[in-house]
Symmetry: C2
DNA sequence: ATTTCTCATAACCATCTGGTTATAAATATG
DNA sequence: CATATTTATAACCAGATGGTTATGAGAAAT
């Protein structure tokens, strides 16, 4: 009963998880071992976080031999962008109204 | 030791809290009582959520007599927009690279 | 075949979270 | 003044969360 958007926001709520996702975005695909190295937490903790990110659609996993490579799925951020857009539209609308008002006052 | 961005993401992680913020964005300033009416939870719960939103900078409160009016502070979403932008830049860059590649192949 | 390496899962635990009811504080009203 | 209304806070509780260690499963290496 949890919407994809809920999953997204919740997945990104944790700073450690966000840091993992950021690394995958900026540095590209990486193995669990490599991610664990720079994470400051245990390997199982990293695996759990990656599981949450995967369930939220934020990362993809690719198995190769005995290691798993994770990569960012940036499209998954779309709902977040849409949402912020919807929340800002009204701000923009009000801003436009204000601009209109100022223009009319100017004439 | 919690960064403003951390506060933001955490505040928006809860669907009830997000719903409150959405209402304030779309319907404008409202009292606690009015927000409580449509929230499906108790008034103290709503007050606590509003407290979290306020600490994250997402809402402002205005006291008038015995009631408190809350309003959305949409600018507070800026860090979130910036963050998604940074995460997507690389996707765009790669996309551009791909476009370039395709163009070069086309010639 | 045995051992080693890499990752995921299980079991567990302390803390955080989101809700509740009860109550206090401040303002309006009779 | 006494009472009612509105919001915030306190105290509490069940369940979620993020971490740990131990272990299992599969692939590679010796």
């Amino acid at each position: 009963m949890e919407s994809p958007t809920d999953l997204l926001f919740r997945a990104l709520a944790d700073p450690t998880r966000r840091a993992l996702f950021e690394r995958l975005c900026l540095e590209g695909e990486q193995t669990v071992g490599r991610l664990t190295a720079g994470a400051g937490i245990s390997q199982p903790a990293v695996s759990k976080h990656l599981g949450v990110l995967r369930q939220a659609g934020l990362v993809l996993d690719r198995h190769e031999g005995r290691q798993t490579h994770y990569s960012a799925q940036q499209r998954a951020l779309a709902p977040l962008v849409d949402w912020t857009g919807r929340m800002n539209r009204f701000w923009e609308a009000r801003f436009d109204d204000l601009e209109d008002l100022l223009k009319r006052m100017d004439q």
